[in-house]
Assembly symmetry: C2
Homo-oligomer: 255 residues x 2
């Protein structure tokens, strides 16, 4: 990666409430244009997983959920709605931690987060329905990137962002759960430091930094800013996938 001295981030305004089947790439391009944003080669588009899920129709009506015995027991332990717990378990490989009010799992996509991303905020019918994460966000990011290339002939990187809590620290940050067209992990191992001493283990979670930068604008409340365009970043180097940001089980000390 080459040295850059600056970047800018701008939210794409006036994105409407997204419905199942909507064409996210087309909507984002239309609203960017309406807002006077002219996309350029090398721009990074950060899209909230929430609208990707909505476009993919990842809603589940809670009344339709058949609750297993295992989910019922876990619901009793955590004090959560058994139907939500059933959805969480279905989206997960395993439970990581649980206690009253909290259920942390390893999502089928590999990351560890609260409630497997099953969410009732910022959706219609939030008391009777829930929204699952996108089916394959790395694939969705690649599809948006291709759609933009087909439409505008531009080389735009795409990050699909989610918000995760963290062990040890208060508050959510942005993370990349889908990515295309930029490195996701920037490996400095073996590169020289300021004094020529080689780094031993440093890797930078580049796509997560991008997601966190965008999260400074998109927020999680009623602001409704689910897409952010970032200009000036170094997107050179081998492009990665968000799944590259998942630490292998045998490398993790906190499972």
């Amino acid at each position: 990666m080459t040295r850059r001295l600056g970047f800018s981030a701008r939210a794409i305004a006036d994105i409407p409430l997204i419905q199942a089947g909507d064409d996210i790439a087309a909507i984002v391009l239309t609203k960017a244009r309406a807002g006077g944003l002219v996309l350029q080669d090398g721009d990074v588009l950060v899209i909230s997983s929430k609208i990707v899920s909505k476009a993919e129709g990842r809603y589940v009506e809670l009344d339709s959920v058949k609750v297993s015995e295992a989910a019922l027991a876990l619901a009793a332990e955590t004090g959560k709605d058994p139907r939500l717990v059933e959805l969480i378990v279905n989206e997960s490989r395993r439970v990581s931690r649980k206690r009253p009010g909290l259920l942390v799992t390893e999502h089928r996509l590999g990351f560890v987060s609260a409630n497997a991303g099953v969410d009732q905020s910022n959706i219609e019918c939030g008391d009777e329905a829930a929204l699952l994460l996108p089916l394959d966000p790395d694939h969705s990011a690649a599809a948006y990137r291709l759609a933009i290339r087909d439409e505008l002939g531009l080389d735009i990187a795409v990050v699909i962002s989610d918000t995760h809590g963290r062990a040890f620290r208060v508050g959510n940050v942005g993370v990349a759960i889908g990515a295309a067209g930029l490195p996701t992990v920037n490996d400095l191992r073996g590169k020289p430091d300021l004094y020529g001493r080689a780094f031993e283990v440093t890797q930078v979670a580049y796509a997560d930094l991008v997601a966190s930068a965008a999260h400074l604008l998109c927020g999680e409340g009623d602001e409704g800013l689910p897409a952010v365009l970032i200009r000036g970043l170094d997107t050179g180097g081998a492009p990665g996938r968000a799944i590259d940001l998942i630490r292998a089980a045998d490398q993790d000390l906190y499972r």
Copy 2:
């Protein structure tokens, strides 16, 4: 916090190698001015903990370290230099995880990270010396903020950033270990979502997002970009301290 549509980040170039006793605020202001950056009320200045440590003279010569029996045992377990392990233990409240090549501790400032931030990269004499984290980075951030106010009459927020690895995910991100003049945790609990449904548990690690955004520019290699100015962020609301980002032990499931 009010809705913002954009922000920009720019690294402050040509900051010299910092020596013990250097006046960080003065150097950063001088180099910002030299680079054509005119600071404004509401700007956020992100400063790498590395140069804060250097200015505070937090070097330790490894030959001067007296190694305890406990550190010797831990060094054998982890394969690390016993003198480094002694420094790590002295900077820590307790060991969180250990294995060959890795020692994760709870730092005296509360956060959990590898090697308690004791670092040999990007310092002079990196084979014979190590650099500890700043003594009280929240205090240092407040001091820089005041120095800038005294010098320029401007209301500038300051974040002192470090890079941490994470449980579950590959790669380092930026985190705030010192802060002054901006909220560090943005609490959305009880606020309405897009559909008027109240959030239950959402808090945003705002100062960590700021540190991660800056980390897109400052890097960790030989680029030497230890200060970034961010313009356009919402810094309103009750200012916090970086220590507010530390989750209380009884609230954490991964200790």
